[in-house]
Every structure is written in structure tokens, then in C-alpha cells.
């Protein structure tokens, strides 16, 4: 493996422009199968850890700007950021263990482009946009428009994410949910992030499509305040938004139904049109077991 060590952003951009080198920040995705992934050994990497311009973040009156090398841990540790964007820390806490959270970066999570990424749904639900930079100039792309297909994105190989920008809004609803096979150290089987603000509803799902995706049909159900009396009532809209598959971790059927159920359970107490009533379950309560006690 060949590792380039630029100390300034311009230098890094020159390196990327001049070769097929791959940018590397925390290295956490690269390490996963490193011993077996022999192809990865012969590539050239550009290490971003020495570039000050990518470090740090700024919480302003109008927006939060995360530098391209901001880690999950940076966010977890900052009380003001946690208060302004509470879902960020909640999602960050779900990424691996502390060792990964201190190395892994938000931008890295975005460009690794895993459909199961835990950091991306909350960023997308907060209407994040990306500042992509290269020797050719700067480009702003909405995160919701960034992905084009499985591991396909609107980033050319010479571009870096210089910053992730999150507009500050007054959110009335912020909800993040991750369903994994265990309570920690799990890869998401089904997940979503949901917000409601002055610009409307945002519903973003992960692990149910080739990319992390907005769910416009579900958003429309919410915007138009349609009646949904059971989790299955969300399925027609969800089916327009998602395309789950069977894989090593779960099944398409499970992902589809459980996404409907966790969404419904989240929305039922919040939306007037949801549920037969506010308090009762859509699932009939069970009769108690009838065995005599002793």
C-alpha cells in the first residue's frame, strides 16, 4: 500500500487530481476486511488527518458546519451541538464502539455509501448539503440528491467533502431509530430518521434500498394528514419509496414490515390521523394465560 501524506488541502486536491488515489480519513471502513482484501493493499491512499482545513466544526446561528474530518466523537462530546441537533449524537452512539466513534468521520460515512450507514439518515433528515471541493472548484450538493445507486454517488474521484452544512430550523419532531440484530456493535437491519420543521416532514430510511433514501411517498402521507389505522397502512407508500432485499443480515419481508411498524409506532402518538385511538394498540391485547396458578 502507498500512503500520501499531504499537510494542506490544496496539496491533497492536487494529489487526487493527479492520480486515482483514494482519500482516507479515519480508516475504519478500510480496516474491516484489510487482511483478506488484497486488492486494497496495492492501492494508493491520501491521508487527510494532517489537513487543518478539514478539522473542526462550527455551530452558528443559521447552520452547523461539520468539517470533512469531523468525527462522531467530536459531536458526541459537544453539548451545544447535541442540543441543536440531538439525532446526530444518537446516531453517532450507534456506530461501532468508542474506538470507532473516535476515528470514524461523518464525511467518511457519507462517501463509503453503505445503504446501512448510521450517520447518513440523520444528516439527510436535517437537510444536510455537501461542499465538494477539487482543483476544479467547489460544488454544493444536497445530501438527499447525492446518491445515484448502490455505492454510486455524485462525487468524482478528485473531490473531497470539505464540509457538511446543516441548516438550523425549529424542529417539532426529531426521531432516530435503529433496528439491529443486537443492542450494540450491530449493523442496521432497518432504520429511519424523521423530522418535522417549518419546511415540512423528512423521512429517511436506511438498509431498505440500494442507498440511504428519502421516502417522499411517506412524507406525502404525513403532509396530507391521511388516515393510517395500522402499520400496514404505510406499506403502499413505503413500497414506492424503498426496495429492500434479502441478505446475510435479514430478509426483504422483515425489513419492509418492520420499517412500517417502527414508523407507525413512532408516528401514532404524534399524528392525529394515525391509529384507531391515541392510546390503544392496533394489535388486540392478548387474553391472559389460562393456566391455574399452583
Amino acid at each position: 500500500m502507498k500512503l500520501l501524506l499531504p499537510s494542506a488541502l490544496d496539496e491533497a486536491l492536487d494529489m487526487l487530481a493527479a492520480s486515482e488515489a483514494i482519500p482516507m480519513a479515519g480508516g475504519t471502513d478500510l480496516m474491516v476486511h484489510w487482511p483478506q482484501n488484497l486488492d486494497a493493499h496495492s492501492r494508493t491512499y491520501v491521508d487527510l488527518s494532517r489537513i487543518d482545513a478539514l478539522r473542526g466544526y462550527r455551530l452558528g446561528a443559521d447552520e452547523l458546519v461539520l468539517g470533512g474530518a469531523t468525527t462522531y466523537w467530536d459531536v458526541i462530546e459537544d453539548a451545544a451541538v447535541c442540543e441543536a441537533f440531538p439525532m446526530l449524537a444518537r446516531a453517532a452512539r450507534q456506530v461501532g464502539a468508542i474506538q470507532i466513534q473516535t476515528r470514524g468521520t461523518w464525511a467518511g460515512n457519507i462517501v463509503n455509501a453503505s445503504p446501512a450507514a448510521d450517520g447518513v439518515p440523520v444528516l439527510m433528515a436535517y437537510d444536510a448539503s455537501l461542499e465538494l471541493v477539487s482543483t476544479r472548484g467547489t460544488e454544493i450538493v444536497a445530501l438527499a440528491d447525492f446518491y445515484r445507486g448502490y455505492k454510486q454517488m455524485r462525487r468524482t474521484h478528485d473531490q473531497l467533502i470539505r464540509a457538511i452544512r446543516l441548516p438550523r430550523r425549529s424542529y417539532t419532531i426529531e426521531h432516530f431509530e435503529k433496528v439491529g440484530a443486537r443492542k450494540a456493535q450491530a449493523i442496521t437491519k432497518v432504520g429511519f430518521a424523521l423530522t418535522r420543521s417549518e419546511v415540512g416532514w423528512r423521512v429517511v430510511a436506511n438498509s431498505v434500498a440500494p442507498t440511504v433514501c428519502r421516502c417522499p411517498a411517506v412524507e406525502e402521507v404525513l403532509t396530507s394528514e391521511r388516515t393510517v389505522s395500522a402499520p400496514e397502512g404505510l406499506l403502499p407508500a413505503l413500497d414506492q419509496d424503498i426496495a429492500p432485499i434479502d441478505d446475510l443480515r435479514s430478509t426483504a419481508a422483515y425489513r419492509r414490515r418492520v420499517l412500517a411498524r417502527v414508523l407507525y409506532a413512532c408516528l401514532a402518538p404524534l399524528c392525529p390521523g394515525f391509529g384507531p385511538s391515541k392510546t390503544a394498540s392496533p394489535i388486540p391485547p392478548l387474553a391472559g394465560p389460562d393456566e391455574p396458578d399452583r
Binding site: A181, R257, P284
Partner: protein, 797 residues
């Protein structure tokens, strides 16, 4: 007493095989080894091609032609090749070995070998009868009966008149239950180092590594390398967990490393990474068990008719013995006059299954204890009452007609478990909770069970275990056994036993590293036998040492023992000196023969076992247990979580409270994983989810507090009265958790693991995609006859 090697393990100072630098002694750098494996589940090897782009002269290459002895890994059937010669029977079967100083060069080289295999029809489902071309075993019987094909072993237990009992039954309850495989996930993957000491006809192959049974490895090396015991030495290195996964599997690894070391005449290190370990190593046998039970009107067992099928995988390994333990435990700790058990383990073209903590008993006890709840439900009985009514009492006999007369109060074990768990209070609380909670359901379930410790039947007699305790010149003693420490506490418990027996402080007791050149063969470290059986031999060897010193068994304090040992050595030195003075033969100093106390296994009197009819005293002692699990199911995600767990057991005598508790808690955690999350994705008979991100063992966040209690009724033939406990805790969690889920949801789960995906099918089996806005979920109360249908019809065929 604190764990003796605990601090070294906690601080990372303990050295495991991958931390060791093979001794080079002028023979050049040590080599890394790698294994080239089959990518096909079954077929004939047509050719092996080496990519000419690689300089193969830099590699040591070994295939089946380099094996000096028999091309088999010595075990029960001697059917598994060390390296496949012309046929393969499973994916990942070893075919070729490579060694090279660079690990990454090796990884590239493995990919540069192309093995062309002509595929043959494989078997992945043992419950489906094989087609003629799928028969791979049992074809040599001239009058082969239908159904014998591919059956590695068949066992039958018969007691009383089952058919007559069924004819007179008030109730008959059927059920078919399935359990999945399981990976051991020892922290330290498989690994060995081989090197050669000496030259020519006197050279010695030395293999050091992570293992449970050094003498198994030595025996396997002797057969494959065609060497005498004196020319094969096996040393156990500090071992990071075994759970049965390092019982038989390291034998093949050791032969591989030794073949490369012999060819290279250099030390060779063969360490599996986690992925290779998960893919290629043995796992727990999947099982299918059908119960048909006859009961009287009050719920007393009249007859149990039980069929057991286990998938053995591609080679016999230890499957017949796993089946045996499964068969013997299948009827549970209950009194029943008429029992018929049929068991068979069957070849498939999956990666061979092997030893795993519990060894067949967790599979059949899952079926038994789940079935007891089904019986209770169908008869309208309380599950606790049903078990109490049928529980073995002293004087009753087990399925193998072993009369139980140990004086244990098995009912008291149930009482304590229910009291600790708050069983009746929780059942009432759950009814209220489930009636009001929109998305959560809680339930509580129990399992009443037993586990026999030590080898089955006459097994311990055949093992003929030996132990020695040496008195050292400085007055300390050294315990010499082949019992391995793999995290369970052997070193600490043996120290305690010898110190107690001789009255010495623990620091005056040394425990020898298991090394076939130094220690006697005290048998394998398996079958919950170490503390109970080998520990008892340690005590007897201590007594023998006292005898040799002229000290009575009770007489004399530790100081007297120490003084006597020192005096013995001084006296010995004087005698040696004077005999040298007398003979004046040039003063060749011979090393002093060690002062040894010795012990050899003796079966407890009156233990009788008939291996032909599978009848008699299957085990010297059983531990008795009741486990209670409380679960919460989240109906949004269909996931079940254990929120409380109580484990109560009668184990003879607690030798070390902390270690015993740790054994139980660790076993329960392993059981929770088996019951809820450790599911396999099989591809061509091999594990496709061979990554710890996708094979889901519980984290500490996924397990509740595990509350443990012991009852003691000393077993006269165990060390200080102890019975074995290593495997016991693996048996109870599966059925207790499944029973709790059944109670929470009013469903009837028949298989584990109960992953969320499985529970979804159980709770909401019909997905009505057509109705866009349905007002209610499908009824929850679906008793899944479909689960039975999958395998039920074929079992016992």
C-alpha cells in the same frame, strides 16, 4: 482463592500461540502456513494448477502425497482425510498446504492455486432421503436396509412396553422441535506452531498450540506421520477458550503444521484468522427431535416415544458420541416406565459438525422441555405442576434404566428457582402488562433438566486416566495432568484441591503445563469431567504421595508434609552419594527419580453399563437444575430480549464460588445466543455469514443479570464431592427462553434460534399485502403446524 493466571490475562501479559516466536535454533526463519481449500461441496478433484506468475520455489507446498503415515485424522471412524486426495466432501475441505515467510505473499499464493473439481450431487438436508448417487456412506453393507444410507450411527433405548402404554393413554401429545447449529466463538482462534527437534531417525516433531486435548493431538500425529509416541511431543499453550471447538479440531491443524515443518525443516506457524476459523471449523450439530408422549388423565407420563436426527456433516468426527449423549438426555429428568428412543446421525455435505459444550444434550433437552410446556398447554395443566408430578425421585430410573439414588432433593431446586424468579408474581404481573402495553409483551418460562458428567457408560474405564503429584526438592509439589486450562479455571481448582489435600498453601502447589513428554494422560479436557474426575485423581495422587512419605492420610500438617518431602530428597541425595562412593564408577550423576504420588482411574463400585442394549448407569453422577427466563418481546421489531434469568443447580459441591458462578453465567450467555440470535446463513453447506458482524453473539448489553444459586449434595466419587458443571448451563437457556416467549405471545415456537425474522413468521405468518389499510393485525394466536411439517414427516423414517 483467586484465579491464578487471572492477572496475566487481565493485563495482557499472558502469551497465546500467536504471541510466541517459534524457536529457530539455526534452522532459519519461521514460516507462516496457509490452507488451500475446496470451493465445492462434493466432487472429484481433476487437477491442481499453480499460477506460473508466482515463484513457487519460494513456497513449501504439501499435498496428500507428503503424508508419511495414514491420510486420516485419527478419531472414532478414521474417515476424515488430513488432505483430500481425489474427492472432497465439503466446502473448505483442506486440499493443499503452503508455507512462506510472508503472510501476505501466502494469501496471494492461496488465490493463485486453482483446483478443478468435477461436482457431484451434494446433500444439505439430512431429513430428505438421499438419491442413489448421493449415498456416500453405508454402501458396503450387502443387505443394506432402506434408510441406512449415509447413517453414521444409530442408537436405540428401550424400556418397558411403549405401545401398550399408548393404547391405554388418556392423552397423547406430539411435537417436533429443531435446533440450529452454533459456533463456539472462542476469543482465540485456532492456531498451532510445529517445529522439529533433532535430526534423522531420532528427530522429534513438536507441536505447541491452542487445544483441549494434547494426547488426542499426539495420537493423531502418530498415525498420520507414522511415528512412535517418543518422536511426537505436544504442548498446550495458553488457550483462549475452547467450548469443545478445540477438542478434536486441533488434531488436523497440528498434522498440517507438522507436515509443512517436516518438509521445510523449519518452524511453521499455522494460525487461522476469524473468518477462516468460522468457515472451516466444527460447530454444534443441528437437530430435529420428534416427541410422542402418552399421559394419564392427571398428566403422569405413561410413555415417551422420541426420534432424534442430527446432521453430522461430511465426516464422522465425534458425532456418534454426541448422538449418544443426546439420546441419553432426551427423556429429561422424569420418571417414565415406558420409553423408546431412536437416534441417528446422518452424513451431509456440510462442514463437519463436532464437539460443542453440552454435546448433544442441549439439543434433545430443548425438545424435551419445550414439549413439556406443550403438554401442559394441551392438558390445561400448570407447567410447573406437570414437571413436579413427573420429576425423578430417589429409587426411580431414567430412560436407560439407571436407578437414581443420590439423595438429591430435585424438587428443592425447582422451589428455589421459582422463588428467586418470583415466578407466580411475575406471571400475574405479565397478564396485566400484556393487556395494556401497545407494543411489548412479557412472559416467563422454565426448564427443568439434568446433565451427566464424565464420559458416558464405560468411557471413563477405557480412558484409564492417570495423574501424578510430584514432591519437589524444595518441599513444594507439582500436579502433573493433561487437563488444560482454557478459561474455565483448571489451574486454580487443581491448586485448591492439592493444597487442601496436603495442607499446603496454594503458592506451594505448581501446576504442570500439559506437555505429552512430561505429564501422564489424564484424559481429554471435555465432558464436564475435569474437576469431578481428574480432580478426584489429583486428590488420590496426593494421598499416594503421603503414603510414599510414610504419612497417614489424616496425619500431619502441611509443614510436616513439606518437611517430609525435603527430607526424602536429602535422604535420596545421601543414598545416591554413598552408592557413588561405593561403586566409584566415575561419578556420572543420574538425575534423581522424582518423588511421585500417582493415581489411576477406578470406576465407582456397582456402576454397570451395557453398550449393546444402551442400558444401565450412563453417568456416575448427574447435576440437577432449573432455569427460569423472563423475556420481553417488542412487537414493532419482533425481537425478544431476556430481561431476567435465574439459574439454580445442585452440583454436589461448589469448589470455587466465583469460578462456578462464572461457568454458569458464561454458559447462560452462550445459551441466550443459541436461543435468540446465532443464526446461520448456509451456502453450499458452509457458513456464509462468517463474520462476527453477521454471526450475532450477544454483547454484554444483550444479557440481563444472571442470578445463580447452588445447592450441594456431595457426590462421593468427585473431588471434594463435586459433580461436573461445565456443560450444564448450556442445556437450560434454550427451552426456558422459548417457553417464556410462548407464554408472552401465546405462540408455540418449535425451533431455535428465535430471531426476529423467525418470530415475525410465528406471530404474523400471513402478510396481507393486498389490503392497503387493514384495521387490525392478523390474529396472533397461530400455532405453527407449518414448523412441524417441515421435517416432521421424515423423522424416524
Amino acid at each position: 482463592m483467586k484465579r491464578r493466571e487471572g492477572l496475566a490475562k487481565l493485563t495482557g501479559r499472558e502469551r497465546y500461540v500467536d504471541d510466541l516466536r517459534p524457536s529457530v535454533d539455526g534452522r532459519g526463519r519461521a514460516l507462516w502456513a496457509a490452507t488451500v481449500r475446496s470451493s465445492v461441496a462434493r466432487g472429484r478433484i481433476r487437477s491442481v494448477r499453480f499460477d506460473p506468475a508466482i515463484d513457487w520455489d519460494a513456497f513449501v507446498v504439501v499435498d496428500h502425497r507428503d503424508i508419511p503415515g495414514r491420510n486420516v485424522v485419527k478419531l472414532i471412524a478414521d474417515d476424515q482425510p488430513v488432505l483430500a486426495a481425489d474427492r472432497v466432501r465439503h466446502v473448505h475441505e483442506p486440499i493443499l498446504l503452503l508455507a512462506h515467510p510472508s503472510r501476505s505473499a501466502l494469501r496471494r499464493a492461496v488465490r493463485a492455486v486453482t483446483i478443478d473439481i468435477e461436482p457431484e450431487s451434494p446433500i444439505f438436508d439430512v431429513c430428505v432421503p438421499p438419491t442413489p448417487e448421493q449415498v456416500q456412506h453405508g454402501t458396503d453393507h450387502p443387505h443394506q436396509e432402506p434408510g441406512q444410507e449415509n447413517v453414521f450411527k444409530r442408537l436405540a433405548v428401550d424400556k418397558g412396553d411403549v405401545d401398550a402404554a399408548f393404547a391405554a393413554a388418556a392423552h397423547i401429545v406430539d411435537g417436533t422441535y429443531a435446533t440450529g447449529s452454533q459456533e463456539h466463538v472462542y476469543l482465540e482462534p485456532q492456531g498451532v506452531i510445529a517445529h522439529i527437534e533433532g535430526e534423522g531417525d531420532d528427530d522429534v516433531v513438536v507441536v505447541s498450540g491452542s487445544m483441549q486435548c494434547p494426547f488426542y493431538v499426539q495420537g493423531a500425529l502418530m498415525m498420520a506421520l507414522d511415528r512412535e509416541a517418543e518422536r511426537v511431543r505436544v504442548v498446550q499453550t495458553s488457550t483462549g477458550g475452547g467450548f469443545g471447538g478445540k477438542e478434536e479440531f486441533p488434531s488436523g491443524l497440528a498434522i498440517h503444521a507438522a507436515l509443512l515443518a517436516l518438509k521445510a525443516r523449519r518452524p511453521v506457524k499455522l494460525i487461522y484468522d476469524r473468518g477462516e476459523d468460522l468457515e472451516a471449523s466444527t460447530k454444534r450439530h443441528p437437530s430435529w427431535v420428534r416427541h410422542r408422549t402418552a399421559l394419564d388423565a392427571d398428566g403422569r407420563l405413561l410413555a415417551q416415544d422420541i426420534d432424534i436426527v442430527m446432521d453430522a456433516g461430511a465426516y464422522v468426527t465425534l458425532s456418534p458420541v454426541v448422538l449418544s449423549r443426546g439420546v441419553i438426555h432426551a427423556a429429561g429428568p422424569y420418571r417414565c416406565a415406558n420409553v423408546r428412543i431412536r437416534g441417528r446421525c446422518v452424513l451431509s455435505n456440510r462442514v463437519p459438525f463436532g464437539a460443542f459444550r453440552g454435546f448433544g444434550a442441549p439439543q434433545t433437552l430443548f425438545a424435551c422441555e419445550r414439549h413439556m410446556d406443550r403438554i401442559a398447554h394441551q392438558l390445561g395443566l400448570d407447567p410447573v405442576s406437570l414437571r413436579r408430578v413427573n420429576l425423578l425421585r430417589d429409587g426411580d430410573s431414567t430412560a436407560t434404566s439407571q436407578t437414581i439414588r443420590d439423595g438429591s432433593d430435585r424438587s428443592a431446586v425447582i422451589d428455589q428457582a421459582l422463588a428467586m424468579a418470583g415466578w407466580y408474581e411475575k406471571r400475574a404481573a405479565h397478564r396485566a402488562f400484556n393487556a395494556t402495553e401497545p407494543w411489548l409483551r412479557r412472559g416467563i418460562g422454565l426448564a427443568v433438566f439434568h446433565h451427566g458428567a464424565g464420559f458416558t457408560g464405560s468411557g471413563e474405564v477405557y480412558l484409564d486416566s492417570r495423574v501424578a503429584v510430584a514432591g519437589l526438592p524444595d518441599g513444594r509439589v507439582e500436579v502433573l495432568t493433561a487437563a488444560t486450562e482454557m478459561g474455565q479455571g483448571t489451574i486454580t481448582v487443581f491448586t485448591q484441591l492439592a493444597a487442601d489435600r496436603l495442607g499446603l498453601p496454594p503458592e506451594d502447589v505448581l501446576i504442570a503445563q500439559p506437555d505429552t513428554a512430561r505429564v501422564p494422560d489424564s484424559g481429554p479436557t471435555v465432558a464436564s469431567r475435569t474437576a469431578m474426575i481428574v480432580g478426584r485423581l489429583v486428590e488420590r495422587a496426593c494421598d499416594d504421595l503421603r503414603d510414599r512419605l510414610g504419612l497417614g492420610p489424616e496425619a500431619s500438617s502441611g509443614d510436616a508434609v513439606r518437611r517430609a518431602i525435603i527430607a526424602w530428597h536429602e535422604d535420596y541425595a545421601r543414598r545416591e552419594q554413598s552408592s557413588r562412593d561405593e561403586t566409584r564408577d566415575g561419578g556420572v550423576a543420574t538425575s534423581a527419580p522424582p518423588l511421585l504420588g500417582q493415581a489411576r482411574y477406578q470406576a465407582p463400585p456397582g456402576v454397570l453399563w451395557d453398550d449393546e442394549r444402551y442400558r444401565g448407569d450412563a453417568y456416575g453422577a448427574f447435576a440437577w437444575a432449573t432455569y427460569v427466563a423472563e423475556v420481553e418481546v417488542d412487537l414493532r421489531t419482533y425481537s425478544a430480549r431476556v430481561i431476567d434469568f435465574v439459574a439454580v443447580q445442585e452440583i454436589g459441591k461448589v469448589l470455587n464460588e466465583v469460578l462456578a458462578r462464572g461457568q454458569i453465567q458464561g454458559g447462560v450467555v452462550q445459551g441466550i445466543g443459541w436461543a435468540l440470535s446465532e443464526s446461520f446463513v448456509w451456502r453450499d453447506g458452509a457458513m456464509a455469514n462468517a463474520q462476527l458482524t453477521n454471526y450475532v453473539i450477544p454483547t454484554s448489553d444483550d444479557v440481563p443479570s444472571i442470578r445463580v444459586a447452588f445447592q450441594e449434595n456431595p457426590y462421593p466419587h468427585g473431588a471434594q464431592g463435586a459433580k461436573g458443571i461445565g456443560e450444564l448451563p448450556m442445556d437450560g437457556p434454550g427451552p426456558a427462553i422459548a417457553n417464556a416467549i410462548a407464554a408472552a405471545l401465546d405462540v408455540d415456537p418449535c425451533e431455535i434460534p428465535l430471531t426476529p425474522e423467525t418470530l415475525m413468521d410465528l406471530i404474523d405468518p400471513i402478510v396481507d399485502d393486498a389490503s392497503p389499510l387493514c384495521d387490525a393485525d392478523p390474529a396472533l394466536n397461530n400455532r405453527p403446524s407449518a414448523t412441524e411439517g417441515a421435517h416432521g414427516g421424515l423423522i424416524g423414517s
